[in-house]
Amino acid sequence: MAIVQDIPKLPGVIAPQSGAPIVAIEDVHKSFGTHKVLNGINLRVGRGETLAVLGRSGTGKSVLLRLIIGLDQPDSGAIRVGGDDLSGLSLDQLGTIRKKMGFLFQHAALYDSLTAAQNVAFPMRHHQKQMSESERADRVQHLLTEVGLDGDLKKMPSDISGGMQKRVGLARALALEPEILLLDEPTAGLDPISSREIDELILKLQRERHMASIVVTHDLQSAKTIANRLALLDQGQVVIEGRFEDLEKSDIKFVKEFLKH
């Protein structure tokens, strides 16, 4: 298992900072009814590091992200964010920790009754009440420009493409200047050009903001481009964790199968 300090710099990817992990997942188990989804997961992500979590559909990758942000609770094990254990916290206590995190949902999950700009302004409106309307509008404009959107500020989510929805979702995730970015299938359902654009955007944000990121994906090319480290999940467990080269060298049958497709 690679530890944060040992991770070499990949092309286009910034090297992670050393020190204590900002996200630590310790022996996490999670079941839904009789279906065991996660079966003793251990992962650590350092500041400035990008971890890509790979695996087949239904292996619990998205569930892992939901556990990290506290949308679901693990059956056993601990999830620590910035050293704080998430178990047993009230919604308001969780809220304090969630402000450190930005979450891009698989289908963007934009508020369909608000425009693109209002979606981005939404977290600021609730958490940065001292901010004036004009300051907020400037910040929204800046965030949308940062994710490559200039024009369509007043369009409703249903009126923009899937790729643009992801960008708006990303801008919303960045609104509170998080230390940790959680991305659930950021390139799923996008054409190859849009996928690469999103990858480049994530790389750019890493360089500029130096956040820790956890990216759930089954897009191997995307994971190779944006991540310092990859973790491959199968049957609720981490099969292998390391650099892309480590995965390529692995003799594990499942890893070989996964890389082949």
Binding site: D92, R98, H107, Y111
Partner: protein, 283 residues
């Protein structure tokens, strides 16, 4: 035949008995599932209500969303409630005139109309109309937000969805139901008087004077403000059904239907209890 007659019961009896036992155990399983589901539903509703109350009484308060919901529940329900109240006024007027004439008690008409509308029909009609319009709206809106992960996105943005979505809607229902009831009562009295005045000339002033003669606080205020409880039932059940939805478009449809059906049912049951409560506490 004789061979068959002797051997058949031996061969068939065990299979028949097996089927009987299987059928009975299936029946017991189904019944236990229904009973467990029933208690599970009430337990979940109780937990949901507790979370909403806790979120509602702790800052930050979502004033902006509350005002939006007051408009959504109150102003936008007003035409429908007024129309329903007006229709009920006419119906009571027609029925009451006919019945009272038969017993030679026509002079009781204004009081009969006033008491019928304000104590009985106004509150329940307002509750049922709002349950249909607002209950279905809230149930479908929140269910749609749930299945498209918008509620998760709110939570992930460190915003308490019980405070932002549920508490504001429930509070708006509680505050607006008594006001809408007053509007329904006013329309019912107006149309009831109008229907009577078309047949027998009676000034509105005389009608009101005779209708409210001897009326006390206890006769009218508690029945009007009991609708705040209806508001709580409608808002709570619609938010609960909406926020626990699973399963795409079908789930959204189910949430909307269940919101209306359950809210209407509990509203009628609550009316039974509240009428007795008011009679005892405000004699």
């Amino acid at each position: 035949m004789s061979t068959l007659g002797r051997s058949a019961p031996l061969a068939i009896r065990p299979r028949f008995a097996d089927r009987q036992i299987r059928g009975f155990s299936q029946l017991v399983n189904s019944a236990s599932r229904v009973i467990v589901g029933f208690f599970e539903w009430f337990g979940s509703l109780g937990i949901f209500f507790w979370r909403v109350v806790r979120a509602a009484v702790t800052p930050p308060f979502e004033w902006r969303e509350l005002v939006r919901q007051l408009d959504e529940v109150g102003s936008k329900s007003l035409p429908l409630v007024a129309l329903a109240g007006g229709a009920v006024g006419i119906v009571i007027s027609l029925e009451a005139r006919y019945s009272l004439s038969r017993f030679g008690a026509k002079s009781m008409f204004p009081a009969t109309l006033v008491y019928s509308v304000i104590q009985v029909m106004g509150p329940i009609i307002t509750g049922l109309v709002v349950s249909g319009r607002v209950g279905a709206g809230i149930g479908a809106e929140l269910a749609s937000m749930k299945v498209t992960e918008q509620i998760d996105a709110i939570e992930a943005s460190a915003i308490n969805p019980y405070r932002l979505l549920a508490a504001t809607r429930i509070l708006a229902c509680i505050l607006m139901l008594p006001l809408l009831t007053l509007a329904a009562d006013a329309c019912g009295l107006l149309t009831g008087w109008f229907a009577q005045a078309l047949v027998e000339p009676l000034s509105f002033q005389q009608f009101i004077q005779r209708g409210f003669q001897g009326a006390t606080f206890n006769a009218f205020v508690p029945p009007t403000f009991k609708t705040a409880v209806y508001g709580l039932i409608i808002g709570l059940i619609a938010c609960f059904q909406g926020m626990r939805t699973r399963g795409g478009a079908e789930g959204v449809g189910r949430a909307a239907t269940n919101s209306v059906v359950l809210a209407s049912l509990f509203l009628i049951l609550a009316d039974v209890v509240l009428v007795k409560f008011i009679l005892v506490v405000f004699p």
